[in-house]
């Protein structure tokens, strides 16, 4: 199939960027979106141009590295699918496709389509863990966990930290990501002792990183490749309320 691409090119963090057009003639329907970009890059290198930089690693939809806004939608048009799992058969011959980086103040562009998502790591550092130094653990069966809780914790823990939620959010908010972690840890008995300090610390780090506030529009959940639901934000809010009242 033939495609017209318009891709955000920006040579470095401080450089000015712009949308640049490319045409590809012979794209296989079976190629993944990133393989289509590989083909473009092979051509650009052969022509002596700088290939398009983009983040990727597992190409299986689990590492959370890939991060393209395709026609205005983080991870593109297919629901519950990361960019690397999106295949060209979802597009039509002759389509023109816009490809842009995640846009958020907290995710500055490094080059082309590559952004800096280290703010997510800083949120986790501020409390997104259970303090369990190696060697201190009781037997795994010491505390049973009701299956529903374990399943709900798992569903929240499925977040891959890709940042599509932030990219989709009109407020550049990281609440879905943060809510997923708060919900995961808060749903396990092991997570209870630090529940209050965790949420206060993470929210402070979130705001400090320059993410915006949530207005419950739901764009994040609609973009999330792992189908993390808005309920994790409700959980986050409730945990926060309790912790903040207690802290006051």
């Amino acid at each position: 199939m033939k495609l017209k691409l318009r891709i955000w090119r920006q040579s470095s963090a401080d450089a000015k960027g712009r949308m640049v057009s490319y045409e590809l003639d012979d794209v296989s329907e079976d190629a993944s979106f990133l393989e289509m970009l590989d083909v473009l890059n092979e051509r650009l290198i052969a022509e002596g141009d700088d290939p398009v930089a983009f983040d990727h690693d597992c190409r299986e939809g689990i590492c959370g590295a890939c991060s393209l806004v395709i026609d205005g939608q983080p991870h593109g048009p297919q629901a519950a699918t990361t960019t690397c799992q999106l295949h060209m058969r979802k597009f039509k011959d002759g389509d023109s496709i816009d490809i842009e980086p995640w846009r958020a103040g907290a995710f500055p562009v490094i080059k082309d389509l590559v952004v800096d998502r280290s703010a997510f790591d800083r949120i986790i550092q501020a409390g997104g863990y259970i303090s369990a130094p190696t060697g201190t653990a009781p037997d795994a069966h010491a505390v049973p966990i009701p299956k529903q809780d374990a399943d709900a914790a798992f569903s929240a823990a499925a977040c891959i930290g890709c940042g599509a939620c932030v990219a989709a959010c009109p407020n550049g908010s990281g609440m879905l990501f943060m809510g997923a972690k708060v919900a995961h840890l808060g749903l396990t008995p092991q997570g209870q002792p630090e529940r209050a300090t965790r949420v206060l610390g993470m929210v402070a780090a979130h705001d400090e990183a320059g993410f915006g506030g949530c207005t419950n529009t739901g764009e994040c959940a609609a973009a999330c490749p792992k189908e993390i639901g808005l309920d994790v934000i409700g959980r986050l809010n409730a945990d926060f309320r309790k912790a903040a009242i207690r802290a006051a």
């Binding site: 960027g17 402070a204 739901g218 309920d231 809010n237 409730a238």
Partner: protein, 245 residues
């Protein structure tokens, strides 16, 4: 061919949003403040709307109701005390609500300094909120200002006689002043959208995960919005169309 986007992404957001200090100044803290004040305002709005319906009982009843508001608590308390307590409460609520909305909105704008080149249709569960909450709020601010000048202080109302609430309503929505009615209705549309999202959003903000009852809460929010809009709209419409004179 290439199109320039005006912007480049700085390493840090260009406009630093106001620094939050302490949990209640955080994005979630302010949102809770906005939700709690919002919910109280909703209660006020519903009571206010119910009060307005006294118009249909005629001038006597309506003015008696308005008088009742002023003499609430008498003779235990001096004239208009309760009313002023309520008014101050309302002012505080509105101040908290608007202040938190402004701070959060500024932070949100700073958090998304660069727009996408290609715009997508919104997909979110409450996608209309993106389009309606903020402009709706602006309409509401203008409306509240007009509304106070019109029916509270009577600055722009032909009927200056304060105890004659009925007269003021009939005068302001009289058929020849139809633009006032139109503006009132426009504000109601904004309020309706504001509540349709706001009431559900406030529940999500205050009450916690709502997986099980989200659909129901959203339905309740829609119902509240419809009741409020219809309940308020029927008064000026009745006057403008001559059903109440």
């Amino acid at each position: 061919m290439s199109t320039d986007l005006q912007s480049r992404t700085a390493a840090r957001p260009a406009k630093r949003a106001p620094k939050p200090t302490g949990p209640w100044r955080s994005n979630i803290g302010l949102k809770i403040a906005m939700a709690v004040s919002g919910v109280l305002l909703v209660l006020f709005i519903i009571v206010h709307m119910a009060g307005n319906l006294h118009v249909f009982e005629g001038r006597e009843e309506m003015n008696a109701y308005a008088h009742g508001l002023r003499t609430l608590g008498e003779p235990l308390l001096p004239h208009e005390t309760v009313l002023w307590v309520l008014r101050v409460g309302l002012i505080v609520l509105a101040a908290v609500h608007i202040w938190s909305a402004v701070v959060l909105t500024r932070r949100s704008l700073a958090a998304r300094p660069v727009r996408y080149h290609s715009r997508k249709p919104a997909k979110g569960e409450s996608r209309h909120a993106v389009a309606t909450m903020r402009w709706g709020a602006a309409v509401l601010v203008l409306f509240v200002a007009w509304h106070l000048l019109d029916l509270t202080f009577r600055t722009v109302n032909p009927v200056k006689d304060v105890p004659d609430a009925y007269g003021a309503v009939v005068a302001t929505f009289s058929p020849e002043r139809w633009p006032v009615t139109v503006f009132y209705l426009l504000a109601l549309v904004a309020l309706g959208f504001h509540l349709r999202h706001g009431v559900w959003s406030a529940v999500q903000t205050i009450a916690g995960p709502d997986t099980k009852w989200r659909k129901r809460t959203q339905a309740v929010a829609l119902a509240v919005a419809l009741v409020v809009v219809v309940g308020f709209a029927i008064v000026p419409l009745s006057v403008t169309f001559g059903l109440v004179k």
